[in-house]
Amino acid sequence: MGRKSTERDRYKDREIREKHTVRFMVYFQNNGVENFSMSKMAKDLGISKTTIYNHFSSKEEIIQAAITYKLSVIAEYQTVLENITLPYTERYRKAMLFFCVQIFDVSNKLLLQIKVSYPKVWRKVVIFQKNVMLDLRSYYEIGIEIGVFKSNMNPVLLSLDDQKFFDLLSNQTVLKENRIEVLEAFNHHYSVKFNGLLDPSFEMLS
């Protein structure tokens, strides 16, 4: 076998693995990872168990792959947040809208199950969340420095306020109970945060 074809095989192998991973992630989003059984998942997804075992050696590996895949998708927000061709506020709006839509699929329930049963995978999630906070913090710091944002604001508080909002999305129930779509919630968060709640025509009564 020539070197070239081995490369191609490996590539194909990776491709199949990735294709499965995407489906697994969707499956976990809907079913959680608690009481997760390989045979049941294989049956539900119409894949043979042998096929799964050809690519993954354990449950943990599957979950790890699915979460890693999801995180890599979410991480795309970074390119937008750092895209210097966009206006400064637009960078946030576009990047975080994408981020919010992505994380909305991942419920608190799923996260909690991972935290309890798969600490190794959970660690990845925590590191990821920390990095998001650092990115946002430096976004605000720079914004204050270049005068787009008001001086005197605390960048840590500003990023924490975002984190609280993300938690609210992952909680899902609050939005569902109030029949609010992710897009509406994000637009709300963005417009209040950046432009304030007061109507521009608000007149100060002194």
Partner: protein, 206 residues
């Protein structure tokens, strides 16, 4: 657990209890509820254990009393929020400032212990928070109806306030970031009402 409401207790007795609980708050704040015992509490207050037992039959009663006392004092924020003698923005500013100031002696440790060990008492806190949110929702709706606020979702606005209050329980976070309650509240207020973007003319309270 004695389900006596505050106003059914003899007034001289009530004053004494209030004084002790207020004095013991720093102790609760530091050690949480799990670690409280009558002996240590008496020692901290400089009174005898017997004296405490004359007024409280058990630790459970102390915990419930302390929580009711705190809720009663925070509740007054509502009067300020709907004090129509004040300016519209001033109502929010003053009442939520009052609310946040009242949280100064509550720690995450207290909150976590309450949730875990006293779910019934925690339910009182939860109900209070729900009621507080209803008040805030009414305020926001009023502001939108009168055209002072842009039209966004009042429920989300109230939820954001609640998340902000919860953030303030985390005192180690505030200390680590060199934040006082006042600074945290002022930032929250400024961003919420005038937005983060620099160019707008800010609403200033004298």
């Amino acid at each position: 657990m004695g389900r006596r409401s505050l106003n059914k207790i003899r007034s001289s007795d009530l004053e004494k209890r209030k004084k002790w609980i207020n004095n013991a708050m720093p102790y609760f704040q530091e050690y949480g509820i799990r670690e409280i015992n009558m002996e240590k509490m008496a020692e901290y207050l400089g009174i005898s254990k017997g004296t405490i037992y004359n007024h409280f039959s058990s630790k459970d009663e102390i915990v419930e009393f302390a929580v009711r006392l705190k809720i009663d004092s925070i509740k007054d924020f509502h009067k300020i929020l709907f004090n129509y003698q004040l300016g519209f923005v001033e109502r929010y500013y003053k009442s939520i400032q009052y609310y946040t100031q009242q949280l100064y002696d509550i720690s995450l440790l207290i909150i976590d212990d309450l949730k875990e060990l006293y779910p019934e008492v925690w339910a009182l806190v939860n109900n209070f928070q729900d009621a507080a949110m209803k008040g805030l929702i009414r305020y926001y709706e009023e502001g939108m109806a009168s055209g002072n606020f842009i039209k966004v979702n009042p429920k989300l606005l109230a939820r954001e306030d609640r998340l902000f209050f919860e953030l303030l329980f985390n005192q180690s976070f505030l200390i680590k970031n060199n934040l006082t309650l006042r600074k945290a509240f002022n930032d929250h207020f400024k961003v919420k009402f005038n937005g983060l973007i620099e160019s707008k003319i800010p609403f200033e309270l004298e």
